[in-house]
């Protein structure tokens, strides 16, 4: 037990060992300009990213004469603190990390990177295409680079799923074979099937499934993951012509009903789960299936030590609409980094950005916890292939290709928040599913009108590549 405990969760410090194991002296991509004691301020979200980037501080100073100053901002405050600085035009941050979903609000304050990238290629083609298109490019212009390959897919306890007794029992009960859920409808069956009291003390202590994050704030992603699949061949957040919200249509209702049912059958207290609760519940074997970001895939040894089982990987559940299988996923956040329009040191800022995110250097980032693989070269690198299961890398890459864009229009953060409140109200039973979605839709209409319908229509079309 004590041993298991020791292994039970990763701490940020553990990642330093990886980097120590790899070489700490990555080469500079190729000769680029040097600067005379210029300071570049990078706003990152505090914790893992901050620590991973800080490793390269001295090298950047030595190679380019740039002082990298990192400002760590707690993830829940990143949007507001950055937008305040950017909109003020202070130039206090040269580089800013943010979510693709906030692009609509950020883009006015960002420096287009095309001219820089044309001069010094940041190994653009090596960034995974799903990220290049839906995260880094906006209205045909390149504004950002991906700095963390977040994407959502499925983890499962393969021993349990491959157990013949379980398979027989499942088949008998549901009439199809037990397998990692291929559709969201199946998620509910799996949730119900594995819902048991394993030690006979009268308390349920095992469940089938957990969503990535449910708590107020980011729980709306778990709704959107379902919605983009239930919505069939052409999912849209809003009607591209009228900008009338579509999330409260039949697909939306189906999606939220499904989400609600999953939570109802899930562990008590799930409504307040964040990353770590979902992670801990899966890693301790209390939940057999988990849709999450790519972090767990590098913790298979820990998982086996805890649960005695092998970790399995599968693509995200989808939906069958009109006989056709939908297979879409989202970044569920995801991190990109762009340059402030008001930066006083743009050349230096780009040089730093290109260095840290170059294929060579970024390999070190992804070997530390918190940053996930985002370059094709990383997927193919021998070190990565050695530490990561092949199936994981395969599922991971396919999932990036299935990436559905976030709502990248002005007010994105507020649209998301309105949706989040409504989704939570439905999950908590305050409102019926339809009422909640109608409320969200009404709030979306209000936001659209406030920002300007025509402007939003143009932004929406451009953001969705229509």
């Amino acid at each position: 037990m004590a041993k298991i405990r020791k292994l039970a969760l990763t701490s940020i410090a553990a990642g330093a060992m990886f980097v120590a194991a790899g070489s700490a002296t990555a080469e500079a991509p190729e000769p680029t300009p040097t600067f005379d004691d210029v300071t570049v301020t990078v706003a990152l979200h505090s914790g893992a990213f901050e620590l991973a980037w800080a490793v390269h501080k001295e090298q950047i100073k030595a190679l380019y004469g740039i002082n990298m100053e990192i400002v760590g901002i707690p993830v829940n405050e990143l949007f507001d603190k950055e937008i305040l600085e950017l909109s003020m035009g202070s130039g206090a941050f040269d580089l800013v990390q943010f979510n693709p979903g906030w692009m609509g609000d950020y883009v006015d304050f960002l420096e287009p990177l095309d001219p820089y990238m044309e001069r010094w290629d940041p190994a653009w083609e090596d960034v995974h295409e799903g990220f290049r298109v839906w995260e880094n490019t906006y209205q045909g212009t390149r504004y950002t680079l991906t700095m963390d390959g977040d994407i959502l897919f499925t983890y499962y306890n393969s021993d349990v799923y491959e157990n013949p007794e379980e398979q027989a029992a499942f088949k008998e009960k549901y009439g199809y074979d037990l397998a990692p859920p291929a559709t969201w409808d199946q998620v509910v069956d799996i949730q119900e099937f594995f819902r048991r009291d394993t030690d006979g003390d009268g308390e349920i202590d095992s469940w089938g499934y957990s969503d990535p994050i449910i708590k107020r704030g980011r729980g709306f992603y778990s709704f959107l993951l379902r919605y983009i699949n239930y919505a069939g061949s052409n999912p849209q957040y809003m009607d591209p012509e009228t900008m009338v919200p579509l999330i409260n249509n039949e697909a939306g209702v189906q999606a939220l009903e499904n989400y609600k049912r999953t939570i109802e059958l899930g562990p008590p207290g799930m409504l307040s789960w964040e990353w770590d609760e979902a992670h801990a519940a899966f890693m301790q074997g209390r939940v057999q299936t988990l849709v999450h970001w790519p972090d767990e895939g590098l913790m298979t040894d820990l998982y086996t030590a805890n649960t005695g089982a092998e970790m399995g990987f599968a693509k995200m559940p989808g939906a069958i609409v009109g006989g056709e299988k939908m297979e879409r996923t989202m970044t569920g956040g995801g991190w990109i980094i762009g340059m402030s329009r008001d930066s006083q040191n743009k050349e230096a800022a780009y040089t730093l950005l290109r260095h840290v995110l170059s294929p060579e250097v970024s390999l070190h980032l992804v070997l530390m916890p918190g940053t996930d693989i985002f370059r094709t070269s990383q997927f193919n690198h021998p070190v990565i292939k050695k530490i990561a299961p092949a199936k994981y890398l395969e599922v991971y890459q396919e999932s990036i290709s299935d990436n559905f864009p976030e709502l990248r229009i002005p007010g994105g953060f507020e649209y998301y928040d309105a949706l989040d409140v409504a989704v939570q109200k439905a999950l908590a039973g305050e409102l019926s599913v339809k009422e909640a979605l109608d409320e969200a839709a009404a709030n979306w209409e209000e936001i659209t009108d406030r920002i300007g319908r025509d402007e939003q229509r143009a932004a929406y079309k451009a953001a969705m590549g229509l």
């Binding site: 937008i83 950017l86 909109s87 562990p267 008590p268 207290g269 409504l271 928040d417 908590a428 920002i451």
Partner: protein, 317 residues
């Protein structure tokens, strides 16, 4: 005003020529000098910003798009007053205030009476008193985090203890039914010691013979409470309620840490909602209008209380 304590200003005035504003200023010049820095600081930090806030509240002002700021007159006020989420948050604030203050009051009073009996006849203060005072001295942010740990549904100590005595897990802040209650409990934990301490001080200050007499008459604890303590403590009670009323109306820190207003909006107090509109949605004009309305509510409470306090001379001993 106590006659034995003629204020110096009268002494000074009797030496000077007693006429008009100039004379008043001359007589009070020293006081005005002493007060000047404070008044300047407070004017700069409260009055000036408030005027600025009134100005902002007349604009449709989305912070990230400063160039699109448009004058809308009183529209923001109308919008706030017709905003269902605003009224819901007012209602939640009301529920929060009512339950947390009344329970704190009852519990705090009971503890005060208990400790009072405990202390009587002893000069030494109990060593454990500082221990129960810690909750109100620590930062509300820390209170929020600590209770989040305690409320962990899967891994928390409270549910573990409940399971040991055969009660199923509670969902605390994770369920719409119990979330507000859970915050109220944390607030009660934080502020009951305050009520206890103040009441205790009030009881200690009462003439002690009173208690000896009532005890000899064979009055029950309840009778003593109802007919002796409560009436004599009315001044203390008024103060406690005033402070708790205004402080809990502003409640934000614990919500910020514990639930962010969720699940849904069941724990979204009006302060937190105003914070969200201003600093997350950046609807600065709207947020300014909302916060001015809150200020008006506070001002009404304060003015009412000021009248009572002044009349009853509560702060004038």
């Amino acid at each position: 005003m106590n006659a034995a304590r003629a204020p110096i200003v009268e002494v000074a005035a009797s030496l000077a020529e007693p006429s008009g504003f100039k004379a008043w200023c001359r007589a009070n010049s020293f006081a005005l000098v002493l007060l000047a820095p404070t008044v300047l600081i407070l004017l700069a930090l409260t009055i000036f910003p408030l005027i600025y806030s009134v100005y902002i509240s007349l604009f449709d002002y989305y912070l990230p798009r400063p160039h699109r700021r448009a004058f809308v007159g009183l529209e923001n006020y109308g919008a706030v007053l017709t905003d269902a989420r605003f009224w819901a948050s007012m209602r939640i604030t009301g529920i929060f205030m009512f339950f947390s203050i009344s329970i704190q009051f009852i519990l705090g009073m009971a503890l005060a009476v208990f400790f009072f009996d405990e202390f009587r006849g002893r000069s030494a203060k109990a060593v454990y008193l500082p221990l129960i005072l810690v909750p109100m001295m620590i930062a509300p942010v820390v209170v929020g985090y600590v209770w989040r740990l305690l409320y962990q549904v899967e891994f928390g100590p409270l549910n573990y203890m409940l399971l040991q005595i055969g009660i199923s897990r509670l969902e605390f802040t994770a369920s719409a039914g119990t979330a507000l209650l859970s915050i109220i409990v944390a607030d009660i934990w934080q502020w009951t010691p305050f009520v206890t301490l103040v009441m205790l001080a009030g009881l200690v200050a009462l003439p002690q013979e009173l208690f000896e007499v009532t005890e000899m008459d064979g009055a029950s604890t309840w009778q003593r409470l109802r007919y002796v303590m409560l009436p004599l403590l009315s001044r203390v009670i008024a103060i406690v309620l005033l402070i708790r009323l205004l402080d809990s109306f502003r409640e934000l820190d614990k919500i910020f840490i514990m639930t962010q207003g969720g699940p849904g909006t069941v724990t979204e107090t009006v302060s937190y909602y105003a914070f969200l509109t201003g600093f997350k949605f950046f609807r600065i004009g709207y947020a300014a209008a909302m916060s001015l309305l809150l200020l008006a509510v506070t001002a009404i409470i304060c003015t009412g209380i000021a009248k009572v306090l002044h009349k009853e001379q509560i702060f004038e001993r």
